[in-house]
C-alpha cells in the first residue's frame, strides 16, 4: 500500500532559471499538495503531460527525493522517518535500462541482491526462478554491453524484482521500447498484480493504461486534478476516447 499524504516538492531556482521563467520566486513547486492511495493487488496509473511532476512524485515514493512537506507511507513506513526500510519494500523500473555495460546479468542481479542484504540461499532460489521466467539463462554469461535492448530490459526487470518487493514503481517503463520488449513489461505488471503487489506506474500511453489500470490519477503543473477508479474514468468519458477525456480534464484545469 502507498499512502501519499499532502505531498509537496519544491525546487530552488537559480538566477538563470528565474530569468528564463521570468519570475522573482526563489523556488518552484514540481508537486503541490498531492494526496492519493495505491492499494495492494491493484495497478495505479499516474498520468500527466510532460513536466507535470510525475517523475518527481515517483522519485519521492522511491526515496530518491525528499518531500518538501507532507509524507508518503509505503506499507505503513514513512519515507521521511525510515527511508531505508521503505527501500527494502520497493522495486524501481524505468524505460531506460540503467545497467552496467561491463558486468554480466548474473553479476548485476547479485550486486543488487547483496545491497538488499539477501541471504545466499534465498537469492539463488529467486535468481533461478527469475532467470528462467525471463529467459535470461541463455545470455547470463555475456556482458550487458553485448546485449540487445530487449535482453537488457529483462535483466533490468530481474534486478528490480530480485528482492521480491511488495511495492513496484514503474516510471514510463515502456517509453522508447519496441513492441515485444514493451509487452514483457506489461506482462510483468500483470504478474505483480496477480501476486498481490502494489503497483504504481506513470505513462503517456493511454492504451497501456486502459489495459492494465484499476485506479488512476492525473496531475498537471504539480496539482492532482483527477483521482478515481478506471471504471469511473471510463464512465466519465461518455463515448469519447480515453485520450480525449484525458485532454479535456487537463484543459479544464489549465
Amino acid at each position: 500500500m502507498i499512502n501519499v499524504e499532502n505531498i509537496t516538492k519544491q525546487y530552488a531556482l537559480s538566477k538563470k532559471q528565474r530569468k528564463e521563467l521570468q519570475t522573482n520566486s526563489t523556488s518552484v513547486a514540481a508537486v503541490n499538495n498531492v494526496s492519493f492511495i495505491c492499494k495492494p493487488g491493484r495497478v495505479f496509473s499516474l498520468l500527466g503531460p510532460n513536466g507535470a511532476g510525475k517523475t518527481s512524485l515517483l522519485r519521492m515514493v522511491s526515496t530518491i527525493l525528499k518531500p518538501s512537506s507532507g509524507d508518503i507511507k509505503v506499507d505503513g513506513v514513512s519515507v521521511i522517518d525510515n527511508p531505508q526500510e521503505v527501500r527494502r519494500k520497493i522495486g524501481f523500473l524505468t524505460g531506460s535500462t540503467n545497467l552496467y555495460d561491463r558486468l554480466t546479468p548474473g553479476e548485476i542481479v547479485k550486486y543488487f541482491a547483496d545491497l538488499h542484504g539477501m541471504e545466499r540461499s534465498l537469492f539463488n532460489e529467486r535468481k533461478e526462478n527469475l532467470f528462467e521466467q525471463l529467459n535470461i539463462n541463455e545470455f547470463s554469461k555475456k556482458r550487458i554491453g553485448q546485449l540487445s535492448t530487449g535482453m537488457k530490459q529483462k535483466v533490468s526487470i530481474a534486478r528490480s524484482m530480485i528482492h521480491d518487493p511488495s511495492v513496484v514503481i514503474f516510471d514510463e517503463p515502456t517509453s522508447g521500447l519496441d513492441v515485444i520488449t514493451a509487452n514483457s513489461i506489461i506482462e510483468l505488471i500483470r504478474q505483480c498484480k496477480k501476486d498481490g503487489k502494489t503497483v504504481i506506474f506513470s505513462s503517456h500511453i493511454m492504451s497501456e493504461v486502459d489495459l492494465l489500470c484499476d485506479d488512476l490519477a492525473i496531475i498537471a503543473k504539480g496539482n492532482l486534478i483527477y483521482n478515481d477508479t478506471m471504471d469511473a474514468y471510463r464512465k466519465q468519458s461518455e463515448g469519447k476516447s480515453l485520450t480525449e477525456a484525458f485532454i479535456n480534464i487537463v484543459n479544464q484545469n489549465n
Binding site: N98, L99, L103, L115, G117
Partner: protein, 391 residues
C-alpha cells in the same frame, strides 16, 4: 561494512574491465619509469657520445702557431677564410661551430708575462662546444704556465696560494637524493592523480549519465556507504598506479644496462621495505584525498565531457606544488609540511636523501590524513544533494 565491501567488489570488477582505466592506472605507470630511466641513461649517454665524437669546425683569427697546433687532431677541423663580420651567420648555418679571435698584441702580452686576450664566439645551446674548446685552451695555458714558472724560477705553489682539499660529507645517496629526489615523487603524485581520475569520472559522472546512480539510490544502503565504497575503489586504483610505477622501476633495474652506479644505488635503496612503507603511508591518504576531491567535483557534472572539463584544470593545480618541490632551496620545514602535494614531494626527497626528520614526516602524514578526511566529507556533502546526484 558489508555494504561497503559489496560496492568495492562490484566497482573494482567494473573498473578493471574498463580499457581507459587499465591504460591510465596500469599500463602508463608501469611504462613511465622504464621510459624515463631509459631516457635519462641511454638517450643522454648516446647524445653525449655523439657530441663528444663529433668533429668541431673552428675558425681561428690571429692565433699563435702553438695554439693552432692544439687543434690539429681528428676531433677538430680548422676552417680558414672565415670573416669576423659574418661569424653569427656562420655559426647559425653550421659552417663553423666556434670562432676564436685573438687580440693583435696576444703574443706580445704572453711573452711579457701578461694576460693574452681572445674572444670565443659560440652557441651555448650546442652542447659541449665551449667545454671542448676550453680543454684545448687549458692545455695551452698549462704550457705557458710551466714556461713562466721556469722563467721566473719560482715554484708552482707561488701561483697557487690556496690549497683546498674538499671533503664532502654528503653521501652519494644524499647528493643524488637531493638531485633526483624531487622528480620521483612528482612522477608518483601525477600517476596517482591520473590513476584516480578515470575511475572517478566513470564511477560518479558515468553512473549519473547512464542513470544507474538513480537506481542505486533505491536500494536500502546509505548514500554514505555507497560513496565510501566508490571513494575507496577510486583511491585503490590510484594506489595501484603507484604500485605499477614501483614495479616499472624494479623492471628497469633488471633489464636496462648503462644505469650509472650511483643512480642504481639510490633506486635500489628506494625499493627497500622502509622507503616503500614510508612512501605508501603518504600515498594512501593522498589517493583518498584525490578520490574525495575528484568525486566532489565530478558529481556536479551531468556528462562525462563536462566532468573532464572540470578535472583537466585540476591537473595543473596538482602539478604546480609538485613542481615547486623540484626548485633548488625549497626544503621540508614545519610550514611546508602542511602544504598538500608540496609536502609529500619534499618529504619523499628527504626520505631518498636519508635526511628526513621523523617529527616532520609525521606532520606530513597527519596533514594528509586530515586532508583526506576533509575531502571525503566534502564529497559526501555534495553527494547528499539531490540536485547533484540526479540528471
Amino acid at each position: 561494512m558489508k555494504t561497503i565491501f559489496t560496492v568495492i567488489k562490484k566497482e573494482l570488477t567494473d573498473t578493471l574491465r574498463d580499457r581507459k582505466t587499465l591504460i591510465s592506472a596500469i599500463l602508463l605507470p608501469a611504462l613511465a619509469m622504464p621510459l624515463i630511466i631509459l631516457g635519462v641513461t641511454k638517450l643522454q649517454k648516446n647524445l653525449m657520445d655523439k657530441e663528444q665524437s663529433k668533429q668541431l669546425k673552428v675558425a681561428l683569427i690571429g692565433a699563435p702557431e702553438n695554439i693552432v697546433s692544439q687543434f690539429n687532431d681528428s676531433t677538430f677541423l680548422v676552417v680558414d677564410n672565415v670573416v669576423l663580420a659574418g661569424v653569427n651567420d656562420s655559426i647559425e648555418n653550421g659552417s663553423i661551430d666556434a670562432l676564436l679571435e685573438f687580440d693583435t698584441d696576444f703574443n706580445e702580452k704572453i711573452s711579457t708575462l701578461s694576460s693574452g686576450g681572445l674572444k670565443l664566439y659560440y652557441k651555448s645551446t650546442n652542447l659541449l662546444v665551449e667545454k671542448r674548446i676550453r680543454e684545448k685552451l687549458d692545455n695551452y695555458k698549462a704550457v705557458v704556465m710551466n714556461d713562466r714558472i721556469k722563467q721566473l724560477n719560482i715554484s708552482s705553489e707561488t701561483l697557487e696560494p690556496l690549497s683546498v682539499v674538499k671533503i664532502d660529507i654528503a653521501s652519494s645517496k644524499e647528493q643524488i637524493g637531493k638531485m633526483i629526489g624531487g622528480f620521483i615523487p612528482y612522477i608518483f603524485i601525477i600517476l596517482c592523480f591520473t590513476g584516480c581520475m578515470y575511475p572517478a569520472l566513470d564511477l560518479i559522472t558515468g553512473e549519473k549519465e547512464r542513470g544507474t546512480l538513480e537506481t542505486l539510490l533505491t536500494v536500502p544502503a546509505s548514500r554514505f556507504k555507497i560513496l565510501i565504497g566508490k571513494t575507496i575503489t577510486i583511491a585503490l586504483v590510484g594506489i595501484a598506479a603507484a604500485i605499477m610505477a614501483i614495479a616499472g622501476m624494479f623492471l628497469s633495474l633488471k633489464f636496462i644496462d648503462d644505469i650509472p652506479q650511483d643512480f642504481l644505488n639510490v633506486i635500489n635503496d628506494l625499493l627497500g621495505l622502509k622507503f616503500i612503507l614510508m612512501l605508501f603511508a603518504m600515498l594512501i591518504p593522498l589517493s583518498i584525498f584525490f578520490a574525495g576531491l575528484l568525486s566532489a567535483i565530478v558529481v556536479r557534472a551531468s556528462s562525462f565531457k563536462e566532468a573532464q572539463s572540470y578535472v583537466t584544470p585540476l591537473t595543473f593545480v596538482i602539478i604546480i606544488p609538485a613542481m615547486i618541490a623540484l626548485m633548488p632551496g625549497v626544503e621540508l620545514t614545519w610550514q611546508t609540511a602542511w602544504i598538500p602535494i608540496l609536502n609529500i614531494a619534499l618529504a619523499t626527497k628527504e626520505i631518498i636523501a636519508g635526511t628526513i626528520q621523523l617529527s616532520q614526516y609525521l606532520v606530513v602524514v597527519g596533514s594528509l590524513i586530515l586532508l583526506a578526511v576533509m575531502a571525503v566529507f566534502f564529497s559526501l556533502k555534495q553527494f547528499s544533494k539531490e540536485t547533484m546526484v540526479l540528471k
